[in-house]
Symmetry: C2
Subunit: 452 residues, 2 copies
Amino acid sequence: MEANNHGMEPLRDGVRRGDEQSLLQSIEHLHPADAAEKLAQLTPQEVARCVEIIGAERALAVFEFLPFEIQKEALSFLGRETLGRLITLMRPDERADLVEELDESFRERLLSLLIQAERQNLLKLLTYPEDSAGAYMTTDYALLRAHTSVRQALDELRLQAPKKETIYYAYVVDAHRRLIGIVSLRDLIMARPDSLVDDIMYRNVISVHVDQDIEEVAQEMVHYDFLAMPVVDGEGRLVGIITYDDIFDVMTEAATEDMYLLANLDTDDKVTSSIPRSVKLRAPWLLVNLGTALVASYMVSLFSETISRFVVLASLMPLVAGLGGNAGTQSLTVVVRALALGEIKTKGTWKVVLRQAAVGWCNGALCGLVLALITYAWHRNVWLAGIMWMALILNMIVAGTLGALVPIALRKLKLDPALGSSIFVTAATDTGGYFFLLGLATLFLQEIVLHG
Amino acid sequence: MEANNHGMEPLRDGVRRGDEQSLLQSIEHLHPADAAEKLAQLTPQEVARCVEIIGAERALAVFEFLPFEIQKEALSFLGRETLGRLITLMRPDERADLVEELDESFRERLLSLLIQAERQNLLKLLTYPEDSAGAYMTTDYALLRAHTSVRQALDELRLQAPKKETIYYAYVVDAHRRLIGIVSLRDLIMARPDSLVDDIMYRNVISVHVDQDIEEVAQEMVHYDFLAMPVVDGEGRLVGIITYDDIFDVMTEAATEDMYLLANLDTDDKVTSSIPRSVKLRAPWLLVNLGTALVASYMVSLFSETISRFVVLASLMPLVAGLGGNAGTQSLTVVVRALALGEIKTKGTWKVVLRQAAVGWCNGALCGLVLALITYAWHRNVWLAGIMWMALILNMIVAGTLGALVPIALRKLKLDPALGSSIFVTAATDTGGYFFLLGLATLFLQEIVLHG
């Protein structure tokens, strides 16, 4: 942070004095991503002022790297003319993401500043559901016709370059805009100038549908190592492309989401969130957890007679429940991750569940033996030791089975496999652990007390 | 799976009959990544046979997409000549990753098949530590000199293209091979042909050091949206580049690793692992957990006198411990994720810990109130309700504090922030929960029993 604060004053000073030269000097030697980090420390009003001073054209690259929150607030301080130019120059996907965040009235105002074609395009992009390919794609892709020569194609790409997100892949469409081929810039510059695009283009085009889930698209792009993925509509017409940097963001968000759901957290919760906000976001999950913990608590209360006759059981309860919880979380995490990476096919699900159950059984037998030995050393009670062993095996089988079954079932229900699954699995291993231990102890109470 | 199995027979048949044409027919219309998926269902011996039949040159792209395990096993079935050609043609980074997996003797044999320069290069790549930029980079990057004209530069790239991983960025070095500029193919084709690379190249080059941690490199590439990142040695000499597709893999692995560590899992554990293997990988973690659970268990045993006088406490124990564990996991996950994404700066750590402690305190007060009301409704004991409230608040403060402190401390010790942290935090919230509840109950035993 220190390194960033250093050199903030000239920037702020430049904004205050409206000094174009000193403003440019403090950001132009930086990569736009770094300049944006610096700018993000100004107030939105100062950011807007900065855009006004250096002009929308030169501010654009930096502006697109600013966090949405700041972009959004800064917009409202911009003059009509600069606002119009900035929003027109923005990349269509960035623009749509931003406009989506705005209030209705401000959105209307922005739309009125765009020319007809851009407005149509923006309204179209806004209709795609949040996690679909359509919501992430850009409509600024390079287009070629099949019967263009390579020489002409390169000339066309040269002309298209300033407006396109990437020209490293160019897409070939027919008269109905249906995607029929792809050609890379690498292939174009390696080809003979008088050959046709048609001769060198790759025809077995892999594309995704505009409604496809973006995490699936990410999986595909990772599978193929694609730099960009074409997006088509129901008729096979090219409507956009998704580039590798979009996938960087999708992968980061998807990983955060899975980790957060496994820990019962809302994705808006950050280390930087205000205390009231974090409290508000976490409380509902904790209250759900309170509900499931009450079930476990009630289970114990059913056996208070047994516990009062042999109080050592109260201290052994956490062992069976805790180890079961841990084993359940292990199975759960392996399965959730495999589902997220598309490693579990529909046909193999039962095998996955059985395997996790078997792993639970084996580790229950193994750790249960250690636990039984410790219990015996501690309480010199062979019946108690045996019951601990048995209870742990049973609870670990529950842990492995549910750890695999719950996320797979959630996926079948078209829900996120990690959603609430850890609360459910832990509730089951807690309740199960108490039930197996105290139930067995009640059955063999005579023997335990006799040997106690 | 079905779609893949379909069409397997012609492939297997082609291998058996050594029929080049039918083999090519069953894979050449596929993207290499898909062809590799199909090939991966053959035995390594069949894969090797397939490479022999169609030749190393045509097999190369598909071979590089095969899982390491299969690549490794298939190699040993290849004839000397095909092996030599295949290993020579492979991309240097892929080759190094593969050779690293081989036994010493086979590695020697492979090295003897390479020409001197390639062998040096390979041996050099093998010296970089596992998670460093050096271990992921490729040495096949496009090089240009500053005083080349744009026309010449394009000609050079055309020549370099077949051998280079990417030509979309070209790197400009001085006579000492020090990196002095970058130029994109996009800028080159847009520039006037007679201008110099020196005039259009970008000079404020962002690069990473060859020893830098690959996850940090990934963070940088995501920050800048880079398609490729140059890697330099201690003297600023260019030694390689890391491309976006390497980062896809790094991000996937890093996310898996963090999730796995939070769930106490070894990264080699998969849904497809054999049962004995999963058991072996999970057992050590479960035994560590058994150790920490024994501490909690011992804590309860210290209060057996209190429990035997008021057995309801045994059924309330899981509530305080369970909610604390959940709150601890929430704080832990938020902090581990923020550390992984580089969102916590060294200076702000205390603020992060205090904030999580405060969130714990607030949610303890809130959920504790609900818990107290439920306890009162259930047991009609106002003292017991009050003790539950107080115990939960105290345990939630422990949860928030340790949830933040443990990963931050691990990072300070240069360990992975998620390593064992969930076992430690849960042990603390279990032990703490029992201590607070049973301790307070012992202090106020008179009052509880009187109102019970």
